[in-house]
Every structure is written in C-alpha cells, then in structure tokens.
Symmetry: C2
Subunit: 339 residues, 2 copies
C-alpha cells in the first residue's frame, strides 16, 4: 500500500502552491492557460486523483448518486434491478461518480432516508424510480432544493427533470396489433393508478381503442399475479368476454395466462394476451409472453447522466427525455378464434 498521491505532491512537483494547483484543476479563471496545461500534464504524469470525500467536506459535494429503493410490494420485485444499476454505475463511473444505494420498507421510512442521505452528504442528488402521480418524494426534494431526476413523470412536473418510457405508445401499439389480428373485444387489466405509469398505459390503451373504433373494457388497481388471474376470471365470466387482453405489466399477464390455462383455454389461440415489461418470468413461460421490453441499462445510463448534469446546474427543462419500449413477439397472441 503506497501512500496516496495528494494535492501537495502535485504542488511540489509543479513548484506551485496547493491553492494554485487546486484552482488550475478546477478551471478558475485567474490561472494562466500555460500553468493550467502544466498542472494538467503533471497531474496526469504522476497519477494524481483528488479524494472525493476530502473535496466534499468543503464543497458539500460528494460526487455520488443516491438511489433509494422502496421495498413495498412492487419494488421488492424488480427483476431488472441489476440491469438498471449497471446503467447507472456505468455512466457514473465514467465521470468518477459513485452510486449510493439505500432501501426503505415504507414510504415514510423512504422519506426519512432521503433526508438522512442529504444531511450526511452521502448523495448529491437522487434518481427517483417508480414515480407516483402525486409523489411526496418530489415535494420533499423540491422543498429541500435538492436535485433529482424522475424515472417516469409525475402529475406536476414543474422544475423536474425526468426520463420516461412511453408506455402509452406501447399500449396503443398493443391495441393496434390485436385489432389488426381481428380482435374486437379487447380488454385492459391495469395497475394501481397511484403510479403514473399505470395511468399512462391506460391512456395509451384508450387512445388505441378509439383509433380502432372499439369500445374499451377496463379494470384497474391490480398488482400481483393473483390479481391478474382474478381480473381475467371476472372478465371471462362477464357478458361479453374479451378475445384479447392487454395487461399493464408482465406480472399481471402471467397471472392472466395462468387462469386461462386453468380454464383450458389455449393462450395465443383461444385468447390473446399481451404484457409489458419484458420480464424473465414472461420469457420463461411456454409459449413466451408477447410483451414490450424496456432497455433498463439505457434508462439507468441516461438517468445518471441527466442527474449529473442537473447537479451541475443544467436547467431541468432541458433534461426531459423519453424512450420507447419495443415489442417482443412471443406466442401468447394471434388472431382470434374463428378468424
């Protein structure tokens, strides 16, 4: 373990003072270009790397991205967390940032955790996953004047930077796809509308149905596979059972498929089911679920980049992006029976 190379080392190496070297590296205007170049070169040569935490004690910045995972229901089952983290950390380490992760068991504990991370300066900003339509975290961070980036929008996005997947477009595509197959009774099994994504996806379904000239059939507020199964049961027991079903999440779709099987319906033939997420459970099924896959690595990458920019002072209005989920054709959908 050789001693770290410190700023003082760089100072003696260049024959300058500590302060001058520091300002040279940080782009202060009162250092001559020649000196800046000299310092840069020497820094490179002897392999100087500033100690982020030493900087942070004065600057208040720790070069670290915060991510708080709320472990209630949904978040506990994040199949793509690894991919998401990969995206974040890749973008972060490219700029010498790191990722600090915390978890919370409830919403309240989550909010406390944000405050704790802020006061302990463990993070300079946060990525907020799985936004709610009315999100208390947004209120909290906005009040605290602390930078953040949303993964998904909220109802009131004033002064917010966000990155979102156009789930509404995917759902619309799903309707179009089924309608083109010849389906006329297409139902939607939706998630809990406290989540923004849930209402967005529902909107997309509605739009698609209107476009296709069909009348919607909607049930919402579902979360688990069991919910999905129950919802489909109810639909099939109704007056006009659907021939096509679009689910807001793969989890719901998996449940729906299960209850079809229980009734002896051949999915993809007797009934069509489309999900959303591109989850592994969906792909492990036989036949694999037709679904819309989200590139979680890309999402994480962009979110991290945007957050770092936001922390750097970029206007939040410039930090708003969307990406599309892409159709992954499986074997759970097709023409309706009799076509």
């Amino acid at each position: 373990m050789t001693r770290r190379i410190t700023l003082r080392d760089l100072a003696t190496e260049t024959g300058l003072s500590k302060g001058t070297v520091s300002r040279a590296l940080n782009g202060y205007p009162d250092i001559s270009p020649a000196t800046v170049a000299r310092v840069r070169e020497a820094s490179e040569r002897i392999g100087y790397r500033p100690l982020a935490l030493a900087q942070s004690i004065r600057t208040g910045r720790s070069r670290s991205i915060g991510l708080v995972l709320q472990m209630e229901q949904h978040d506990a089952q994040r199949p793509f967390l690894a991919e998401f983290l990969r995206g974040i950390t890749r973008a972060a380490s490219a700029q010498d940032w790191t990722l600090t992760v915390a978890t919370a068991e409830s919403e309240d504990e989550g909010l406390e955790t944000y405050l704790r991370l802020i006061t302990e300066r463990k993070a300079d900003g946060f990525i907020l996953p799985r936004t709610l339509r009315q999100d208390p975290r947004v209120a909290l961070l906005r009040d605290a004047g602390f930078p953040f980036v949303l993964f998904g929008r909220t109802e009131d996005s004033t002064e917010c930077a966000w990155f979102d997947i156009r789930g509404e477009r995917a759902m619309q595509q799903a309707v179009t796809r089924l309608a083109t197959f010849g389906h006329r009774r297409i139902a939607f099994i939706g998630a809990d509308s406290i989540y923004t994504y849930a209402t967005k996806r529902l909107d997309g379904y509605r739009t698609g149905m209107t476009e296709a000239g069909l009348s919607p059939c909607i049930t919402t507020g579902h979360a688990t596979a069991e919910d999905g199964a129950a919802a489909l049961e109810a639909l099939l027991d109704g007056d006009a059972p659907p021939t096509g079903v679009i689910c807001a999440t793969d989890l719901l779709a998996v449940g729906a498929v299960r209850s079809c099987r229980a009734r002896g319906l051949k999915v993809g033939h007797d009934i069509s089911i489309i999900g959303y997420d591109g989850s592994r459970e969906g792909q492990a099924m036989e036949p694999p679920l037709t679904t819309f896959a989200v590139d979680q690595v890309a999402a994480g990458t962009r979110l991290a980049e945007m957050l770092i920019a936001r922390i750097g002072g970029t206007d939040p209005h410039e930090l708003r992006e969307t990406a599309d989920a892409v159709l992954r054709e499986g074997g759970t959908d097709g023409p309706p029976p009799g076509n």
Copy 2:
C-alpha cells in the same frame, strides 16, 4: 435548510473543547465517565450526527460497504438482487453505514473497480458475491490487506470471513426426496465448476446418491436455460434415461422442464425435476418448480453485519457462518411413473 449541527456546536453546548468532545464520543480512555455521559446526553439532545466523510479524511474510514457486481452472464440475471440489497442496507443503516454499489463488465474491470474504490476510499470493505473456487478478487484484497466477506466459500479460505448457504445439503435432500418417491435413476445437471457453489452442490448430490445406494449420473458446465434444455435432451436420449433430474439452478431447471414439454412428457408425473434458487421464473411456471429457496434478505443482513465486524477488527475465523436453503415444494416432482 438549517445548517448542520457540527462538532463545534456540541463543544460550545457542553462548554468543552472540540477535541475533548470528539474523544468522549469515540471512547478514548482519558475522558472521565461523567464527561462522557454529559457529552452523550448533549449530543442526543441537540441531535448531533458526525459527518462520516469528514471523519473519514482523517481516519481513512468512510463507514461504507462496497459491493461490486460483475455483469458477465450470471450476475446480470440476479433476480434477487433487490432482496439482497435490502438485507445489506438494512443492517448497514442500523449502524449508520451506507452501501456503495459499482458494476463491472468483466473480471479485469472488476478488479480495477475494487482498486479504484479502495484508493478513493469509497468503501471500507467489500462483500464478494458469487465466489469462484479460485477467486482473483480474494487474492487482490488479501494482498491489499483490505477487509472483505465472501458470500460462498473459496477453495482457499485462509484468513477469510464468509457466509454460505449449504447448497450441498439441499442437493443431498433433493436426492433423498426423489429416492423416497421411488426414483432409482436420478441425474444431475450441474453448473460451471469454476463457481464454488457448483462443486458444492455436485458434492451434495454425490453424497445423497451414495447414501441411497444409487449410482450417479452427472453432466456439468451448464449455465443458461438453453443449456439445461440441451442437457436434458442428451440425458433422455441416453441408454438409461433418468426418471428424476436435479438441477443446480432454477434456470437450468426451467430449461429442462421446457424440453420435457417439447417431448410431451408431463413434468411431475412422467418425470421429476427439482431446481435450486427459489427464483420467480420457477414460481411462475405451471406447475411451479420444486426448488430450494434461499433467504436473500437474511444473507445480505448477515454479510453486512459480519463485514462491519471484520472491519472493526474481529478475527475472520470467528466470522464464518452457514445457513440452509429450504425446500419449496412445487408440482414438478413426485413418484416415478409406474409407482
């Protein structure tokens, strides 16, 4: 944003000097018990919390646990990462520690990442997931004299602290279970033997077979679901096709089940399959996979606690624990046909 409560505040509050207060809080022997109590009380009262990063600049400790995820093949597909993180962060934050996560695309990049985190003091120690039999990370950290805890053992565990799940016992149980059902030809589809867990599980299978007085039938080196499917194909095409199959991972089992279905075999009836992991894919299947589930939250919790103890100076020999995977009965196994 009110200003942080700093050590100086606490000093003026108690009428002591900064240094004395610091030593009082850190248990130095040259402070009278009365003073220590007084400082503790005042600290509690005004809500003082030391700024970890400020401490760390002098002490070299950042009160942070490091976790590097290697994203090659396996790790990218960690269904339980959220659970694992939950365990870690819960134990960590209970002692005012945090978790720093990084990812790496390859082994080499992984090793570099460890060095980077060490020199930047982003972590005081590491949890090493998914250990190899011969693990270069162990060599690296041991050389650097940096504390770590293994999730799983390595071949050479000298001076190592570890936590492991007794996969061998689970596999042995699996054999016993199938043998009790009446199976006599029980095959094993194993994973890549560079991983310790793979050889351990194989050992368990071997032990179980010997106990049951049966002769083993082994194929190893498999990773993906496709591998599992292909392995089972080969077994079924062999001279004495097995009636029971034990897979080292759920992923392999999912593949195996798939190829059974393709052949028209009814899993759980015509052939029995048991997995290991307790993965969501396995549970999403119809019928759900019989498997051995691992409590990832508990694993993360213990690993974090052990690492903190290790960093605190506890002898690694005292930090060695195992836990068992528990059988989760699904519908993919039962008596062999004709019983």
